[in-house]
């Protein structure tokens, strides 16, 4: 209990303290800072381990990644120590050359194009299905809790297990899906062997994995909409569609904006689905930015750490820009986010 309260006060102390300190730098901030420190020293000490841990596990790799993206580091010129041999680093600083190469070459833009298609279609379909299922399960139907449990199942199974299961299902010769189709007299579908089908297949698996989260989040949102609103609307003669448009949608607004943002970020960087299902193939048909960055760093040789970091930083920038634009749009529409 004690820990809990002090943790809260630490967060409160840290946030306004920093904002004020910046703004009033000229107006005697040091005194305020010192006073803040002497009053809240305990809080500062409490947050210190967290700050240090985050600094080590997030800050250091981030800074190192940005640095590597400005060099020509690859497997052959980074520092290595093997037993008694010690090979010093010999890579050089090349400035923004890697970024120029990435942004002017066709590979980054081509991969970005498919990544956007992948993200938008995954999020749209997942949201649509999640919304539909949440609405169905919000009604009083027989066996509701059973259905809810079953639909959460994809979420409960570890991602890589489900993806491997899907890979077996998709197998062109021995997979269950094609066996079922063959039973209906339909020719085998090259699920993962044809570029277009492979795109469809990876999206389908990601939707399957993402729907439970959407459904649960939206169901929570639905349950927070007061029932009286629906009763009042019904009294006024609103039909089901009008009730959905005018009560459900606005009521879900705050939940859906958050889940769409989260889902977009997750899908944009959905490494396991692509990597375990197709490894970006056939050819490079399903390669998204993160899997390609991984390929640079771990699959090609010599491993190109510089290019991989460059792509990593570009992914970060893209997502930050997206989040900022998204936030601004919402704020304009009067949402506090």
């Amino acid at each position: 209990m004690a820990v809990h309260t002090s943790g809260q006060s630490a967060a409160e102390a840290a946030e306004p303290g920093r904002a004020r300190g910046r703004r009033r730098d000229s107006a005697g901030a040091p005194g305020r800072f010192r006073r803040g420190l002497s009053t809240h020293w305990y809080a500062w000490t409490m947050v210190a381990p967290v700050v240090i841990v985050i600094g080590v596990i997030i800050g250091y790799p981030l800074v190192r990644g940005v640095y590597l993206s400005l060099t020509d580091a690859d497997e052959r010129n980074v520092e290595r120590s093997i037993g008694v041999n010690h090979l010093p680093a010999t890579y050089e600083f090349v400035g923004l050359g890697n970024y120029a190469d990435a942004l002017t070459g066709s590979q980054f833009l081509g991969t970005l194009g498919w990544t956007l298609v992948w993200t938008v279609s995954c999020v749209a379909v997942t949201f649509g299905l999640g919304l539909a299922l949440a609405n169905i399960l919000h009604r009083r139907i027989a066996g509701r809790s059973f259905y809810r449990m079953m639909l959460i199942l994809p979420w409960a199974v570890p991602g890589f297990v489900s993806v491997f299961a899907w890979r077996f299902l998709y197998n062109e010769d021995n997979g269950l899906l094609n066996k079922i189709l063959a039973g209906g007299g339909i020719d085998a579908v090259p699920w993962l062997n044809d570029p277009l089908w492979a795109k469809f297949s990876v999206i389908a698996v990601n939707v399957w994995l993402g729907v439970p989260f959407m459904m649960v989040a939206l169901l929570g949102g639905l349950q927070s909409i007061p029932g009286e609103l629906y009763e009042a609307a019904e009294m006024d003669g609103a039909n089901a569609w009008q009730r959905f448009r005018s009560i459900t949608m606005p009521g879900l607004r705050s939940v859906s904006t958050t889940v769409v943002l989260l889902s977009t970020i997750w899908t944009f960087n959905m490494f396991p689905v692509i990597f375990l299902l197709t490894r970006g193939g056939p050819g490079e048909a399903t390669q998204i930015l993160v899997t390609q960055a991984y390929k640079f760093s771990f699959e090609i040789s010599p491993r190109d750490f510089a290019q991989s970091s460059t792509w990593g930083v570009l992914i970060l920038v893209l997502l930050m820009v997206f989040a900022a634009v998204y936030q601004r749009v919402l704020r304009k529409q009067g949402e506090t986010w």
């Binding site: 381990p49 497997e75 021995n174 062997n193 050819g283 490079e284 010599p302």
Partner: protein
């Protein structure tokens, strides 16, 4: 506060253990009397379920010679081993003492400084006995970094029963391959050939068959995108498009073995490493049903790639002496004879071929002349790097995403980035 202290203590203790690990090299090795002790960890890459049992037993037999040495046998899937070893070797933690390194990986690992030179160590004994083409891949920059364990090449494996049913004879050229496949399809409904589309190694015999090559090491030239390279891409595209061959962009190895073992395809191109696994299939319960002929000749003649595996010692091994002895044991004439008998894998020592038990093995007898004629691959540090760009374009050609011409050009472009001062 207390947590802060705990964290500091944790960091400190971690640092201590790290230094302790790094500094402690005296655990294994040679005692004053010259007796070997400690543990030797070996990463094997042989096929799980068939080859690995024999290799594990053989490796553990080392303990009989050196009772104080413990052999830690680890099977790493072949497809992952190159990257796994690089990760472990670079970070210096978790790397094995001995790795079964594919021939193309060996110069690359050596160039990166991950391997211990073996000249003058007990690992290399009676090395004049090794086949010259097997020994070629173990040398880099004037030093020997590995010892050849097995050598291989490729041929067409075919199902004799299906061939009889269709009334055809094994094909000798690409044109025959197509007509044979068509007859098999018409008479039995089965697909002619399984062609792996997820591994560019399976493309090499078609490339060599057209008289092409990936690169020309002597002239320092990139040759993959010359007319022969384009022609080879056209050949494989045509095989798949005409229905003579089927392919997959994922899970190729499993799909190939399953389809061939169950008699769903009549032929596959494969090497000695697939023999034991293939014998386990229901079509080959009677081993004589498995036939084998050289790879089909293209317009430029016949050519299959020379492959194989070496055993190399990690430069950071803490137990170098025992590792050298282990490599020597595993590549000795007796060990190679056991492997050849049990697994039909080809020895790298010429003396082993004289053993009756080895020369009597049908697969070894077939592959030995094939290996002698096989096309040597470029033994350059970039040798292992040539496959990733080739695979991407090869799969694209097979799945109709690009034309053979454009595919070959894209590979050439990637190679020019890789080999900077080449033409």
């Amino acid at each position: 506060m207390r947590r802060g202290i705990a964290a500091t203590a944790l960091v400190a203790s971690l640092a201590l253990t790290a230094t302790a690990c790094g500094g402690d090299g005296a655990e294994g090795g040679k005692s004053a009397s010259g007796k070997l002790s400690g543990t030797v960890t070996w990463w094997d890459t042989s096929t799980v379920g068939s080859e690995d049992k024999v290799f594990k037993k053989l490796a553990e037999g080392f303990t009989a010679l050196h009772p104080d040495v413990k052999v830690n046998y680890v099977n790493v899937p072949f497809g992952e081993a190159q990257n796994k070893f690089k990760n472990a070797a670079q970070s210096g933690s978790g790397a094995p003492d001995v790795i079964r390194s594919e021939v193309a990986w060996t110069p690359e690992f050596a160039d990166l400084g991950y391997l211990a030179p073996l000249d003058g160590t007990p690992a290399l004994t009676s090395d004049e006995d090794f086949l010259p083409q097997a020994a070629a891949s173990t040398e880099y920059d004037g030093k020997t970094y590995a010892v050849p364990q097995v050598i291989d090449s490729m041929g067409i494996f075919y199902n004799k029963r299906v061939f009889q049913e269709a009334g055809v004879r094994p094909p000798a050229s690409i044109a025959e391959l197509k007509s044979v496949a068509k007859k098999i399809k018409d008479k039995t409904g089965k697909t002619g050939l399984y062609l792996r589309g997820d591994d560019a190694y399976w493309f090499l015999s078609f490339l060599y068959g057209e008289g092409g090559n990936l690169v020309d090491v002597e002239k320092k030239q990139i040759t993959v995108d010359n007319p022969a390279g384009v022609k080879a891409m056209e050949v494989v595209e045509d095989l798949v498009d005409s229905g003579a061959a089927k392919t997959d962009a994922t899970d190729g190895w499993n799909n190939m073995q399953t389809a061939f073992k169950d008699g769903k395809v009549a032929m596959m191109i494969n090497g000695p490493w697939a023999v034991t696994d293939t014998y386990a299939g229901k079509e080959f319960a009677d081993r004589s049903n498995l036939g084998i002929v050289p790879v089909p000749a293209g317009s430029g003649g016949q050519g299959a790639p020379q492959g194989g595996h070496n055993l190399a010692v990690y430069a950071g091994s803490e137990n170098l002496d025992a590792s050298y002895a282990f490599v020597e044991y595993m590549t000795s004439a007796e060990s190679q004879a056991t492997v050849a008998e049990d697994l039909s894998l080809l020895p790298t020592r010429s003396s082993v071929y004289d053993e009756p038990s080895v020369s009597g093995n049908e697969m070894v007898a077939f592959f030995k002349p094939v290996v002698d004629k096989a096309v040597e691959r470029p033994w350059i540090p970039e040798g292992g790097s040539l496959f990733a760009p080739l695979l991407t374009e090869y799969t694209k050609v097979l799945t109709g995403q690009t034309t053979p011409q454009k595919g070959a050009e894209a590979v050439g472009e990637a190679y020019r980035k890789l080999l900077k001062d080449w033409k």
